[in-house]
Symmetry: C2
């Protein structure tokens, strides 16, 4: 069950050795395979788990899927129903965790106290604020180390030909990463993304929230980009570098971005609009970024919504990956 | 959020009042809705939860899905990916829990000690052995009270036109219920069913097993029909009334039964063959029961297997429900 190899990988902070990648499980699915792996990440300083769907073709291009608050790789793997169409299209799927998971004896103060900061809530940034800066480097993990790990773990996958999508906090991750690296990601889409995190409410302060066990719902909960940026980066202003509405103004992509949004999403409405798709539409319009923003009547923020429209996103990416 | 009605329902043990059915949640999915309900069951003497997928048509015929050991209704709802094709075909899906769930202060001795007996392991029989006979009446629940509850909760569903399927212990439930009530269920299929439970090993004795928390895996675990029948019915012989291989000899159905079985299912191979599909094939052959037994190479016992072949089963039932 072990795939033990080593290779050198160049990350943002220099040359590091990618440790052995261990296969945790394999499940046949729609003629392909879901495979789950773990390796000791030098980017996060912790073991990191990720899943890959390998379709029944050689050199499959791939779609990275970034999950939302409180999720792991397993939410997408088990609930999105993505493998059927991915197998038909010959596209691999790559699903990382949403944060480092520190061992019991190294847990950071307050790390598990709230659902929108710390474990399960890495926000796809590289933290600069101590102590988070030691481990919470999810931007570098997703953009640098994870592609190398997939290359080692699944030689059938063409990691160099890749696109990106995600949900909620992971939609924020997909939009910002896709905008920051237009030459790396062939296409970008998102489900219910947090589009303007520097402008959305603080939410409950850390240590004031309900216990994690209650908070870890299927759908995630309150999205609080300001809180995350202050915590990881030291200020909300530092988060402008990770706000899709700001990034698109600096340099739009040459291709369309697809966003699906449930029209009855609890996080969309009223004073608690944490997602702000219209702010993203305005920002895109201002710079000529093509945006296909699809509101879906009656749909909420859950994986029932995602599974209903995942095929549309897979088709969108497939046409750009081939 | 309340659907509060009352009606009289005649069960095996006489007229009982069906209590109010409460809607717990609604999620739009593929143009239809997953709805989750709870009501106080007079058959089990406990609150019972069930889920229904209502496709976007009126008077949809329905397919009951019985889950395996350790599962609730949610495993099928979240992992099987069944709603897509069910919506296309206009078929409703009905998913009950696998056992009563007694409140903390009424828990039976040893009820939660093992994964193959007690909570999460009702085996779709009416227990005759005290104290289980007070609550563990899943046969009557599925065949009598649940259809009435669906009728109350979802008037769009044509409960009288129904078929049945299930997985593992739930495959055993589907085969046995479908064979015992040929005039009620239009068609019968199963995934990886326990086909000959009176002949498979005892498994670990109650109180000897690992803690429930460890045992509750995604896929369920060891299937021990003999243990269940002795516990619920007082003897293995009493279980012959709930053994598909025995039931088919007494009276085959007039139509084909579809069974899908992963060829690499850990529960199928060697000394620990707990499923015995070949025994069922022999029993069917002996009485002229048509059986479409499909071995799927490389597939295991998980929901990755089920989601890969659920469309085949939905198509099978749709052709018989319309």
């Amino acid at each position: 069950m072990l795939t033990a190899r080593r290779l050198l990988t160049l990350t943002a902070t220099g040359a590091r050795a990618l440790s052995a990648v261990t296969k945790l499980s394999t499940n046949n699915c729609f003629g392909g395979q879901w495979r789950r792996f773990q390796f000791d990440s030098s980017t996060t300083g912790t073991p990191m788990v990720f899943s890959v769907f390998v379709p029944p073709v050689q050199k499959a291009p791939c779609l990275f899927y970034l999950s939302g608050l409180t999720c792991t790789d397993e939410n997408f793997v088990q609930k999105a129903g993505a493998a059927r169409r991915a197998a038909e299209l010959g596209i691999a799927l790559v699903a990382p965790d949403t944060s480092p998971r520190l061992p019991e004896d190294r847990r950071l103060p307050g790390e598990d106290d709230s659902y929108d900061f710390g474990s399960g809530a890495g926000f796809y940034v590289d933290a600069t604020n101590y102590p988070w800066s030691q481990y919470y480097n999810m931007y570098s993990f997703v953009t640098q180390e994870l592609p190398e790990a997939v290359m080692v773990a699944c030689p059938e996958v063409d990691v160099q030909t890749r696109s990106i999508t995600g949900h909620s906090m992971g939609g924020h991750g997909a939009l910002t990463i896709g905008l920051k690296q237009p030459a790396v990601w062939r296409s970008v889409s998102a489900f219910s993304p947090i589009c303007n995190p520097t402008k959305v409410p603080w939410g409950p302060r850390r240590r004031d929230t309900q216990p994690v066990r209650q908070a870890r719902s299927v759908t995630g909960s309150i999205h609080t980009g300001q809180k995350a940026f202050e915590g990881y980066l030291g200020s909300v202003d530092a988060g402008l570098e990770h706000d899709a509405c700001e990034l698109v103004k600096k340099g739009p992509r040459s291709d369309a971005i697809l966003v699906s949004q449930g029209a009855d999403d609890d996080f969309l409405v009223g004073d608690t609009n944490q997602l702000q798709p219209e702010a993203f539409r305005s920002a895109c319009d201002g710079v000529g970024q093509e945006l296909d923003l699809r509101y879906e009547a009656g749909y909420d923020h859950s994986y029932f919504f995602i599974q209903s429209f995942i095929d549309e996103h897979l088709d969108f990416h497939a046409s750009r990956l081939k």
